[in-house]
């Protein structure tokens, strides 16, 4: 099933009267269970693409379907609900609430959840923290945690509402190489548990951990390949889109 389906997506910003095509007709599909890296230099449109995926921004033209639902026409409040229920964000700067414990940070999406779920938020947040290996740090505030630990809290927060997809924007940008590897391994583990993950990065080493790498330039996809096997640029991944997880596994070892 297609988690993300983008049809001829265009995003145009007006900067001082000049029109900038941040996305210039991008069509793309990402299937459930994929682990995708989006690469490109700054200004290539990869961050804009991420914001569109995350329903933080809307398209100027084209359509965006998330899990088969056309999100393009939704108003702000409904987009907020989609973010809350279906999307987990991981940011470069962690973006945890300061002076707030890890447990409370992870509970944040549940606070805004409009779906009444039976089990209690604290328990679900605690489970999410255990899933990222921070079961013993629940009462710590961000300034008492290392960068890697903070990013794990952020990942737990992304996980807590059982999202359709986790979007990570330069998740390792603020981390040293060892912690980077830890975080990437965590992503891979979560991916193996069936969670769809999209990472935006400009570091090729990080991109190598994904099964599929999409490269962008000037608002267009210029390359889309699985484990080094190139697909035709700008196009949808055809029949060969089944996740191949052998590559990443090698990368772990």
């Amino acid at each position: 099933m297609e988690t993300i389906l983008l049809k001829d997506a265009k995003k145009i910003f007006s900067l001082g009267g000049e029109k900038v095509h941040a996305l210039d007709g991008v069509s793309l599909s990402i299937l459930s269970g994929e682990f995708v890296a989006i690469m490109g230099t700054s200004g290539s449109g990869k961050s804009t693409l991420m914001n569109i995926f995350g329903c933080l921004d809307t398209l100027t033209e084209g359509e965006y379907h998330l899990e088969g639902v056309n999100v393009s026409g939704m108003d702000k409040a409904r987009l907020a609900d989609v973010r809350n229920q279906r999307i987990g964000f991981v940011f470069q700067g962690f973006n945890l609430l300061p002076r707030t414990t890890a447990l409370e940070n992870v509970q944040l999406p549940l606070f805004y959840s409009r779906k009444r779920k039976g089990d209690n938020p604290k328990k679900r947040a605690a489970e999410a923290l255990e899933r990222v290996g921070l079961g013993n740090r629940m009462d710590h505030e961000p300034n008492q945690l290392s960068g890697g630990q903070q990013q794990r809290v952020a990942i737990a927060r992304a996980l807590v509402n059982d999202p359709a997809i986790i979007l990570a924007d330069e998740p390792t940008g603020n981390l040293d190489s060892k912690t980077t590897l830890d975080v990437l391994n965590l992503f891979r583990e979560l991916n193996l548990q069936g969670i769809t993950i999209v990472i935006v990065t400009h570091e090729p080493e990080v991109g190598q951990h994904a099964q599929r790498v999409i490269t962008m330039r000037d608002g267009r996809i210029i390359e889309d390949h699985l484990n080094g096997k190139a697909l035709h640029p700008g196009g949808r991944v055809g029949g060969a889109s089944l996740p191949n997880i052998s590559g990443p596994r090698e990368a772990i070892s």
Binding site: N51, G54, L56, D57, K76, A77, A80, D81, R83, N84, Q85, F89, F91, N95, L96, L97, P98, R99, L108, P109, F111, Y112, S113, R157, N161
Partner: protein
């Protein structure tokens, strides 16, 4: 449930910035405090005036000589002695709505007892005067109708006069002299204190009306007639009856003005409470302005807070907070800030009112409705001044908010 959570988040945020929150609330604290204390003092003094005036007798009606006219020239009030002892007798006989009538003949001068002397006034009245003015006897007796008839040289002293002439000695039976007329002291009035007009009601010597009129005065001038209506409700009817009787005895034509004027205590009470009421409202309005300033203070800090927490707002939006959630959160925070301020203000205001009441010696009257109003008003201030910053927060774009450094 959701609102409860917003309250919790707001309280956390307020407690995280204790000093700033306190300073923000200060404007509201001072505003509410001053409104409450001024209202309490205002209502207290209003009640004071009412009881003071009532102590003179609420049924009391005073008949003054009015401005006479001679050749078209109007004289001042009481300038002509239009009221006479005949009027008193007439009223006493005919007025059905009056319980008691007494003339008052006032003569000022030096009173001497032994080697002590004191400047005061002698008031010639009838025995009913005691009940009309709500005086009580402290010791001795009051004079009788017989004393009035024989122009007896007896006197009843107020406590101030006793203090100045006799000190601690018992004045009953003692001799005093006033304008070379010797009087025998037969009684002392119970203390009454100041009147609503501020004069000492105990600085008085009462003698029979005839004694004062013929032995001390010119034998004609009755300063004022004091009458008491049967009850408070019949005051207006009594005034009409007095007017009718006096117009008849004074032989006034229908087109002539009254040559006397009537004043009742209820009028004085109404007037006095109107004045204090106006003052209270005016002062409270000024205090209300400071409440407004306090509200602006809240808006100011909330705006700073929104800017400071832009990133937090971005995070909350990214994880699924709607604009309305953010709006509610900041609105709740503003309301709580101003409500807590209001609460402190009520405590401050009551403390100030009772403290000042103690120091100034005036009574303090607190009204639950005033407190409820103050609380409601602070909540409105919170909503009003919290709305703009909250809307600003809610309308932030999540991407820009997340990028904000």
């Amino acid at each position: 449930m959701k609102w409860f959570k917003f309250v919790k988040v707001a309280l956390q945020s307020i407690l995280k910035n204790r000093m700033r929150s306190l300073l923000t609330m200060l404007g509201v604290i001072i505003g509410v405090g001053s409104v409450i204390s001024l209202m309490a003092l205002g209502q207290g003094s209003q009640a004071d005036i009412t009881t003071q005036v009532s102590s003179m007798g609420t049924n009391l009606i005073m008949v003054h000589s009015s401005s006479g006219r001679t050749g078209g020239v109007s004289h001042g009030s009481g300038s002509l002695a239009t009221i006479t002892m005949d009027d008193v007798d007439e009223l006493r006989e005919k007025a059905a709505t009056l319980a008691a009538v007494s003339p008052s003949v006032r003569v000022s001068g030096q009173v001497i007892a032994g080697n002590a002397n004191w400047n005061t006034s002698v008031e010639g009245v009838s025995p009913q005067y005691l009940s009309i003015r709500n005086y009580e006897m402290a010791s001795g007796t009051f004079f009788t109708e017989r004393d009035v008839k024989i122009r007896a040289k007896v006197a009843v002293l107020g406590q101030t006069v006793v203090d100045n002439l006799f000190g601690d000695k018992n004045p009953i039976g003692a001799r005093i002299r006033f304008r070379n007329v010797p009087f025998k002291v037969i009684g002392v009035l119970a203390e009454k204190g100041q009147s609503s007009m501020g004069n000492d009601q105990d600085d008085v010597i009462l003698t029979p009306s005839t004694t004062a009129l013929y032995r001390l005065s010119d034998g004609k001038t009755v300063r004022v007639i004091l009458a008491s209506a049967v009850s408070e409700d019949t005051v207006d009817a009594a005034k009409e009856e007095i007017t009718a009787i006096l117009r008849k005895t004074h032989k006034l034509h229908a087109n002539e003005e009254d040559d006397f004027s009537l004043r009742s205590q209820t009028e004085i009470i109404d007037m006095a409470s109107k004045v204090t009421g106006t003052l209270t409202v005016l002062l409270s309005a000024i205090a209300g302005v400071s409440l407004l300033v306090g509200g602006i203070g809240i808006m100011n800090i909330m705006l700073v807070s929104v800017t400071e927490r832009t990133r937090e707002i971005g995070i909350r939006m990214a994880v699924g907070a709607r604009g309305s959630d953010i709006l509610a959160q900041f609105l709740v925070e503003a309301i709580i800030l101003s409500l807590i301020g209001g609460l402190f203000g009520i405590i401050l205001g009551l403390g100030l009112a009772f403290g000042l009441g103690e120091v100034l010696g005036c009574s303090v009257k607190t009204d639950l409705s005033v407190i409820v109003m103050a609380v409601a008003f602070t909540a409105v201030v919170g909503v009003f001044f919290g709305f703009y910053p909250a809307r600003k927060a809610a309308s932030l774009h999540p991407i820009e908010a997340l990028r904000y450094e």
